[in-house]
């Protein structure tokens, strides 16, 4: 065996090792192809996508109906004014700029929750379909986050005590089911931070408008 041949062989083997290492390295990453996901995860994904597409179809039908109303009104008459007023009313409510009422649930929470725990609770309610939320008397908007203040937790500048209420308007059964599923957020908070959480369904929950100024300074609409 000559020395150049030995060197060539070693180089070749090193190359193969390099390729194998790259392949091995990639295999540590999360699965990126759908076919590599577990059946249970795929089933959840399909259910979630089906529900979401159903909501999008409804939204599309509603907006097309709104468009038809505008077109019928010619965009200038009193009917167009009514359409715009109704749309404004809806968007203000959706964004948290107007008070709303409806069915929902009230959580009374007690314990040493940190900001992450309260934000997780809010996130869980949003994921379960809550349409409007308030912590005590503070209506939540897209920008509302719970933070650690100087002495207490705060949300939009308002203090949150060790005991607080979290109101959510939405399907009461769906919201409760999401919160109380085994291993869900309520079980976790009760187990890990000794929180006490009571949930009450209500037919008449009223949530205030936000007091925060949501008019952007830096962000301007794209023409």
């Amino acid at each position: 065996m000559s020395t150049p041949l030995a060197r060539f062989s070693l180089a070749l083997i090193a190359f193969v090792i390099g390729l194998a290492l790259v392949a091995q390295f990639r295999s540590q990453a999360r699965p990126t192809e759908l076919t590599s996901l577990p059946v249970a995860e795929l089933s959840t994904r399909i259910q979630t996508l089906s529900d979401a597409n159903g909501q999008l179809r409804t939204a599309l039908a509603e907006q097309r109906s709104l468009l038809a109303e505008y077109q019928a009104a010619g965009a200038q008459g009193s009917s167009a004014l009514d359409v715009s007023r109704e749309e404004l009313r809806r968007i203000r409510a959706y964004s948290g700029l107007a008070p709303v009422e409806g069915q929902g649930i009230i959580l009374r929470v007690s314990g040493a929750l940190d900001a992450i725990a309260v934000n997780d609770l809010v996130n869980e309610l949003r994921n379960a379909g809550a349409e409007a939320l308030a912590v005590d008397e503070t209506r939540l908007t897209a920008r509302s986050v719970v933070v650690e203040g100087a002495r207490t937790l705060e949300i939009d500048g308002a203090p949150i005590g060790r005991t607080f209420t979290l109101g959510a308007i939405g399907d009461p059964d769906g919201l409760v089911a999401a919160l109380q599923r085994p291993g869900g957020i309520v079980a976790q908070l009760e187990q890990f931070v000794s929180a006490t959480i009571t949930i009450t369904q209500t037919d008449t929950l009223r949530l205030p408008a936000t007091e925060a100024d949501l008019v952007p300074e830096a962000a301007t609409p794209v023409e």
């Binding site: 295999s27 597409n53 909501q55 949003r126 308007i169």
Partner: protein, 254 residues
């Protein structure tokens, strides 16, 4: 004599070569075995059921893109009709102007402005034996922490991989994916935030950033980068803004 001198030399070459080959082949064998094991785990369970379900998921995602495009088109038509009256002094113009401002405040309008772009992705580090793989991937918790820090630092608009965040947005872990609004997102995650002033500096000082996600970035080598930009463009939220359960309180629009 020549052959007698050459023989010991050949022996030395062979010894070194054999040792190197043995080491290299040993390493190759180790890596190949590890790779074979991980391939085995991945391919063994790719069943026909998974294939079928994956195809359904892809079809639904394509349908979602189509629905969003159609909805965006109708929204644009509506905005155009509403904007047409804004130049006049009529009651309709005033309402439509307020409607445009409200949509802007609520994240329902595409915006542009200065801000920051954050990219975060799974760690490239090879998973150490016995370690939890979840430590080395970006979790929904990480994105929620980043978003919380951005909002509290003064962001006025945020999008994750093109999904604009609004009042009803949740960031939810579903298996190995993250669901934002109605979209399943995969890494790398790109967070774009529009905000005034030194948004990046305020963000880096935020406890919501420093408290958990920054430590995970350091501990597990999650890929992370942030740059400031003088002009970002964020899309509008495209999705359902209908209220099924919440009813605006009468008189609140005044």
């Amino acid at each position: 004599m020549t052959g007698a001198r050459a023989a010991p030399g050949r022996i030395r070459i062979r010894s070194g070569w054999i040792l190197s080959m043995a080491l290299a082949l040993g390493a190759l064998g180790f890596v190949a075995a590890a790779q074979w094991n991980s391939e085995f785990q991945r391919t063994t369970y790719t069943t026909s059921a998974q294939q079928t379900l994956a195809e359904q998921a892809v079809a639904l995602e394509e349908e979602q893109e189509l629905l969003q495009a159609q909805l965006a088109g109708v929204e644009a038509e509506l905005a155009s009709i509403q904007a047409a009256s804004e130049g006049s002094q009529t009651a309709l113009a005033a309402v439509n102007e307020e409607l445009a401002e409200t949509r802007l405040a609520g994240g329902l309008t595409a915006v542009t402005g200065p801000g920051v772009v954050i990219e975060i992705a799974d760690s490239r580090r090879v998973l150490p034996v016995g370690e939890n793989p979840a430590n080395y991937i970006v979790l929904a918790d990480d994105l929620r922490d980043l978003v919380a820090a951005l909002w509290h630092a003064g962001a006025e608009a945020i999008a994750i991989n093109g999904e604009r965040l609004v009042a009803t947005t949740s960031i939810y872990g579903v298996g190995s994916s993250v669901l934002v609004n109605t979209a399943f997102l995969s890494p790398p995650f790109r967070l774009e935030a529009v905000g005034a002033g030194q948004l990046d500096e305020r963000f880096r000082a935020e406890p919501a950033y420093l408290g958990r996600v920054a430590q995970r970035i350091d501990a597990f080598d999650l890929e992370f980068a942030m740059v400031s930009s003088t002009e970002l463009s964020l899309p509008a939220f495209i999705g359902s803004t209908g209220l099924r359960w919440a009813v605006p309180v009468e008189g609140s629009e005044e």
